[in-house]
């Protein structure tokens, strides 16, 4: 019998996994991405000085922002860890044939794809100096809408998968329903990707700043979600081994 880990264990594994992934990715970005951000900011200031001499003083200097990189990723890691724990807890009973660690790994990778990697493919990250401050609200709405709809597409596909599993009472390997769910996902993701308006901001930065930044940003996101998925699965595994449940306080009556 597969035991389902209790919410306390899920929360603990998710938070620890989220913090591990967040810190590793922050260190990665600190050493690899920060130099690109610095180049972009230097270029941005050069452009701004040519256009107008703005008398603004910086409240938050670059060193503080580099510390903020860690603060930001810890917030990112904790936030997704909590949301993941909620979703995992609410849905783990729906896929009874999977171990908690396998389901955790799958769910975390699907979540990472849906809320980070797929949105990135539509709205790639930009270094400082690219975004037009006038359009920030519009771009935020687009991004947020894309993340939410992308999540909905994944959830609907998983629901289709489970619904088909119920319909066919006789099991035949399981692959047809996974294929059906994958087909539903690919179709809805393609509609979402083409229907959402593009980011229309012009990119004034040179390509040798923009593209390294984008690749490093994507690598960081991939690193975060694989590390999170792996750590969670590893931390929850002790709870998912058949028969790992603690001894009940009151012994059950023996039936023969």
């Amino acid at each position: 019998m597969q035991t389902r880990p209790p919410i306390g264990s899920i929360l603990k594994a998710a938070v620890i996994g989220g913090l591990i992934a967040a810190l590793v990715v922050a260190v990665f970005n600190f050493f690899v991405t920060e130099p690109v951000i610095d180049r972009a900011i230097a270029l941005e200031e050069l452009l701004r000085h040519v256009q107008e001499a703005t008398g603004e003083t910086l409240l938050v200097d670059r060193d503080t922002q580099r510390v903020g990189l860690f603060v930001g990723f810890v917030l990112y890691g904790l936030a997704w860890a909590l949301l993941f724990a909620v979703v995992f807890h609410l849905t783990q009973g729906r896929f009874k044939t999977m171990r908690a660690s396998s389901y955790g790994l799958l769910l975390a990778l699907l979540m990472g794809w849906s809320v980070a990697v797929f949105p990135f493919l539509k709205y790639p990250a930009n270094p400082p100096g690219v975004g037009d401050p006038e359009t920030i609200q519009y771009r935020q709405i687009l991004y947020l809408a894309f993340v939410m709809l992308s999540g909905v597409a994944t959830i609907v596909s998983l629901a289709v998968c489970r619904y088909l599993g119920r319909l066919t009472l006789r099991r035949h390997g399981g692959s047809p329903r996974w294929l059906m769910a994958a087909a539903v996902y690919v179709a809805s993701a393609a509609v979402l990707y083409t229907a959402m308006p593009a980011n229309t901001d012009p990119v004034h930065m040179p390509n040798d700043v923009v593209w390294p930044f984008r690749l490093l940003s994507l690598a960081g996101l991939g690193l975060f979600w694989t590390l999170f998925a792996g750590s969670f699965a590893w931390l929850i595994r002790a709870r998912s081994v058949p028969g790992a449940r603690r001894m009940p306080a009151v012994p059950r009556p023996q039936h023969l």
Partner: protein, 68 residues
Amino acid sequence: MTLQVPGLQMAKGQLLVGMSILALLMLYVVALDQGLLLSLVQGNLAFDQNLLHEITHDARHAAGFPCH
């Protein structure tokens, strides 16, 4: 139904809702805020200073959120 999380006892529904709200608030701070949250204490100054945006700036760019 109540459950035990070390050091705290509450209904499971409350815990799940609480976790979700906390998570969304943290995501809002790291991904979206342009001064609104601190304007509750700082007033209009918050929109000029944009402290949360400035502090989470590098993570916001690196994580692919729209910025500037």
